[in-house]
């Protein structure tokens, strides 16, 4: 018998038992819908992280002090924080695949100004910092190379700090005190939002690194060096080059371990991505189990259906149905049930994803492939769980089946 005729027959027998079919399908619908929602949440989280990583900077490379090859625990005191402005200058001058370099000197200091007090990281950076991080002034201006060279006491405020100290006023032109040194606010930065690990990027005060070094930190060592690779494709080269140049700059001999770490954005996101992946896997597994339960529901109903229709099976065998025809009939019936469940479940999953996204504020993302995957998978579930009942039906003895009441 042709597959189309089988599908028609299967739909017919579904319609003969509408309530039962609906309840059976419901199990699959719920299973598929939850799988779709979980995948949507997972994909959403993934692209959310990707967006945040993109947002960090332009083909950015971060050089930080201390080695990661020793499991985060650095060796002798001498090898600990050993990044210097000279390293940054060396990278800037020597690296071919790197277009911009800035040291980042971080310190914490009480900030006094406008509405009162605030505490935020104060970072001393070069003008390149704004290029590397693709960060622009929302009002006022960024500081200039000239101001860096001349150690001017100017700051650019992160959006959070500006809001905290001057809630309803533009702070540009105002005075601010950092550890009792007076600075002039020349600009406020665009809001950048949170990083992938949830810290607020806008809770920051930026000042020329020369000023921070002499006025605030008083140290020769710097926390990080940020750099931009020439292009996205150049990132691996830039990483390798930065590593070589840093070893050169630190005069490390061949046998010595790195006393610094070079990472790009992808690597920085890896941890966040891994956590999300684990969560997604866990949720999808739970959703998958509910689909499995739906499958078992189908098997149950198919077994009931086979035993109810024993006589029908006998009749069909008497008028020429082969074992294969009976097997196919019930497998198709089961696949049609689960396939319809898959379609409805995908629809419900779309709605569910939107609702979850709306309620939680998470980005949810339904990929077109999800539809195929969900419907295909649920049909496979139907074929798998329908096979055993169908096989039982096909193995019935025709005479016994005909005599069955």
């Amino acid at each position: 018998m042709k597959i189309l005729a089988l599908v028609r027959m299967a739909l017919g027998s579904m319609l003969r038992n509408k309530v039962r079919a609906a309840l059976t399908v419901l199990g699959v619908v719920i299973g598929v819908a939850s799988v779709v929602v979980m995948i949507a949440v997972g994909l959403g989280a993934r692209s959310d992280i990707e967006a945040k990583v993109e947002n960090l900077g332009v083909h950015m490379i971060v050089v930080s002090a201390g080695s990661s090859t020793r499991g985060g625990v650095s060796g002798g005191a001498g090898s600990f924080n050993r990044l210097t402005v000279d390293d940054a200058v060396f990278l800037d001058e020597e690296a071919e695949s790197i277009t911009a370099v800035t040291p980042v000197i971080s310190t914490m200091a009480p900030i006094v100004g406008g509405a009162g007090n605030w505490r935020a990281p104060i970072q001393g950076v070069d003008t390149c910092y704004f290029t590397i991080r693709a960060w622009e002034a929302a009002s006022g201006r960024l500081f200039t190379d000239d101001e860096v060279r001349n150690r001017r006491k100017v700051v650019v405020l992160g959006h959070t700090v500006a809001e905290a100290l001057w809630p309803d006023q533009d702070p540009v032109g105002q005075r601010i005190r950092l550890r009792n040194v007076q600075f002039e606010v020349v600009g406020v930065l665009d809001a950048k939002g949170q990083t992938a690990d949830g810290s607020d990027q806008d809770d920051v005060v930026l000042s020329p690194y020369t000023t921070v070094q002499t006025r605030l930190a008083g140290r020769q060592f710097i926390g990080q060096i940020l750099a931009s690779a020439a292009s996205k494709e150049a990132v691996p080269d830039a990483l390798a080059e930065a590593k070589t140049l840093m070893r050169e700059s630190h005069r490390l001999s061949a046998g010595e371990d790195d006393d610094f770490t070079v990472r790009d954005q992808t690597q920085m996101a890896a941890t966040a991505q891994a956590t999300t992946n684990t969560m997604t896997l866990l949720l999808s597994t739970i959703a998958g189990i509910s689909l499995l339960v739906g499958g078992i529901g189908i098997m149950n109903i198919m077994l009931v259906s086979v035993s109810e229709r024993t006589r029908e099976i006998g009749i069909r065998r008497a008028i020429g149905a082969k074992r294969r025809d009976i097997l196919l009939q019930f497998v198709v019936e089961s696949v049609v049930l689960s396939g319809i469940g898959g379609l409805l479940g995908t629809g419900l999953g779309f709605v569910g994803s939107a609702v979850v996204g709306r309620i939680t504020g998470w980005a949810t993302e339904v990929a077109p492939a999800t539809v195929l995957l969900a419907v295909g998978f649920s049909m496979a579930v139907g074929a798998f769980f329908g096979f055993y009942p169908a096989r039982r039906a096909s193995l019935l003895d025709p005479i016994e089946a005909l005599r069955h009441e």
């Binding site: 069909r316 008028i319 020429g320």
Partner: protein
């Protein structure tokens, strides 16, 4: 010149129930030629249905040989038997055995679908078969919307639709009233006149009367085998008081 359609030689059929065994057929020999219309009679439990199941390739003899249309049935596998049932045989049962909640035309279409006839064509042939049994106006009726006589005629249409060599009917009139019984027998006689071979199990003499030959079974053996009256069911029907179509 009669050609043998059914050749049964020394067929026995034993059923094992627990420790004991029942011999439902004992060394039966039977030959049915093309164009015959034969009644199989006998008391309940005499082995009529067992014989029919073997003739119908639904069951296999314990010993003995059975050739259907020249084919040695015992050499065939399950699929080949299914094909024989589909192409060579037509079944009519006492309980009509239509598929419930399925229209008359769908029921009659089924054997053709199993024979891989394209659905559209199968439907046309099914409609022709239903017209032949006088049910051209009941195509879309479901079994529970039809009388016993109508249901049995649907079953006959289903048996006929593949143009089988022989129709096997196991107590086809067992559930029908007397007038409907004669109607069904008239239908069978019409088919027989057109050359169809029929084997009809019955325990009613009134039914056997319409056949050409009567076979008596007792305890799984053939007791007698002789020609029958072969009265015309159509004539009897004409003589009966007119009634609503059952």
């Amino acid at each position: 010149m009669a050609r043998p359609l059914i050749e049964v030689e020394g067929v026995s059929r034993a059923f094992h129930v627990g420790e004991s065994s029942v011999l439902a057929l004992r060394h039966v020999d039977l030959r049915v030629d093309e164009g015959e219309m034969i009644a199989v009679m006998g008391a309940s439990g005499s082995g009529k249905s067992t014989l029919m199941n073997i003739l119908g390739c639904l069951d296999r003899p314990t010993t003995g040989r059975y050739r259907l249309s020249g084919i040695a049935v015992e050499t065939l596998d399950d699929d080949a038997l299914a094909e024989l049932r589909n192409h060579v045989l037509g079944f009519v049962f006492q309980g009509f055995n239509l598929i419930p909640r399925t229209t008359a035309v769908e029921n009659v279409t089924l054997p053709l679908l199993y024979a891989h006839v394209p659905p559209r064509e199968a439907r046309e042939q099914a409609i022709v078969a239903l017209r032949r049994v006088g049910l051209g106006d009941r195509l879309e009726h479901q079994p529970n919307e039809m009388s016993g006589g109508q249901q049995q005629r649907v079953a006959i249409a289903r048996a006929l639709v593949t143009n089988p060599r022989v129709v096997l009917a196991d107590e086809p009139t067992g559930n029908l009233d007397s007038r409907t019984t004669v109607e069904v027998m008239a239908l069978f006689q019409d088919l027989n006149h057109l050359g169809m071979t029929l084997v009809i199990v019955t325990h009613e003499d009134d039914v056997a009367r319409y056949c050409r030959r009567v076979l008596m079974l007792r305890d799984g053996r053939i007791l007698s085998d002789h020609p029958a009256a072969h009265g015309s069911a159509r004539d009897d029907l004409a003589r009966m008081p007119a009634e609503e179509d059952a």
